[in-house]
């Protein structure tokens, strides 16, 4: 039983989240484009090569005198790199836009203990705009989705969403179905 529960995290599971209402279902889950996380993580990957370069530059001196100390210092250095890399991955994976059959919830993680959760009921969505600015966003297909609500309230902006046109179309379909009184079906997730 315990092993089955552990293994189940590697397969598809129900998209539950904190603050989910009774009977509420996740229809669409959006995250930022993976390139946003890849950039800092790949930079850190290059930093991982520093001990290797140092070893080859000072090879004879290290091997003769300080091999174990060098390996130990490298292990501590890699531990630090590991923590920093997963800090960036944590920031990436915890920034989500959750579309349920009732509302849109945007969760922004800005640091370890710094989180902002905004929500908007589906029936208040008036129109949706997609904005793709710049060479890189155009080439690898990511952009911002701006959700305009009824009334004088501030728009919701979902930044760096992959394939924003498809995401916009999916949101419009879900809003139309919800307004028609039909329960929206899951649209699939981009992560």
């Amino acid at each position: 039983m315990m092993i089955d529960r552990i293994i189940s995290i590697f397969s598809e599971s129900s998209k539950s989240f904190e603050g989910q209402e009774k009977g509420e279902e996740v229809v669409l889950l959006l995250r930022r484009h993976p390139f946003i996380a890849l950039l800092p993580v790949s930079t850190l990957g290059l930093f991982c090569l520093v001990p290797i370069f140092i070893f080859f530059i000072f090879y004879s001196y290290i091997v003769a005198n300080f091999l174990l100390l060098f390996l130990f210092a490298s292990s501590v250095y890699l531990m630090i790199i590991w923590i920093i890399a997963f800090f960036y991955l944590m920031m990436y994976t915890l920034n989500t836009v959750i579309l349920t059959d009732r509302r849109i919830i945007e969760r922004e993680q800005s640091g370890f203990f710094n989180r902002k959760v905004s929500e908007l009921h589906i029936y208040r969505i008036q129109d949706i705009t997609v904005s793709t600015k710049g060479v890189l966003p155009t080439m690898i297909h990511y952009g911002d989705i701006i959700v305009q609500t009824a009334g004088m309230e501030q728009s919701f902006i979902f930044k760096q969403i992959p394939r924003p046109e498809e995401a916009k179309n999916a949101i419009m379909r879900i809003v139309s179905m919800a307004n028609a009184g039909v329960k929206p079906q899951p649209e699939g997730v981009n992560n």
Partner: protein
């Protein structure tokens, strides 16, 4: 054990404590606030990697001959 060796052991104990504190915080955030399978996979990979790195570091530190290093 000389004073320098005791100090080095104390420093490494503090470093490992900070490391596991950071591991706990990241793991907690991923499992508690993560939605979907991706954060859980990240958490599993992160935890396994942390254990491996910590184990390697401790083994290397235990095999260090601090007395000869200090004398050098």
């Amino acid at each position: 054990m000389s004073g320098v060796a005791i100090a080095l052991n104390a420093i490494m104990f503090a470093v490992y404590l900070i490391f596991w504190g950071a591991v706990f915080v990241i793991f907690y955030h991923l499992t508690r606030f993560g939605v979907g399978t991706q954060p859980k996979r990240f958490a599993a990979v992160f935890f396994i990697g942390s254990v491996i790195l910590f184990g390697a570091s401790v083994i290397l530190f235990a095999n260090l001959d601090l007395a000869s290093l200090i004398s050098k």
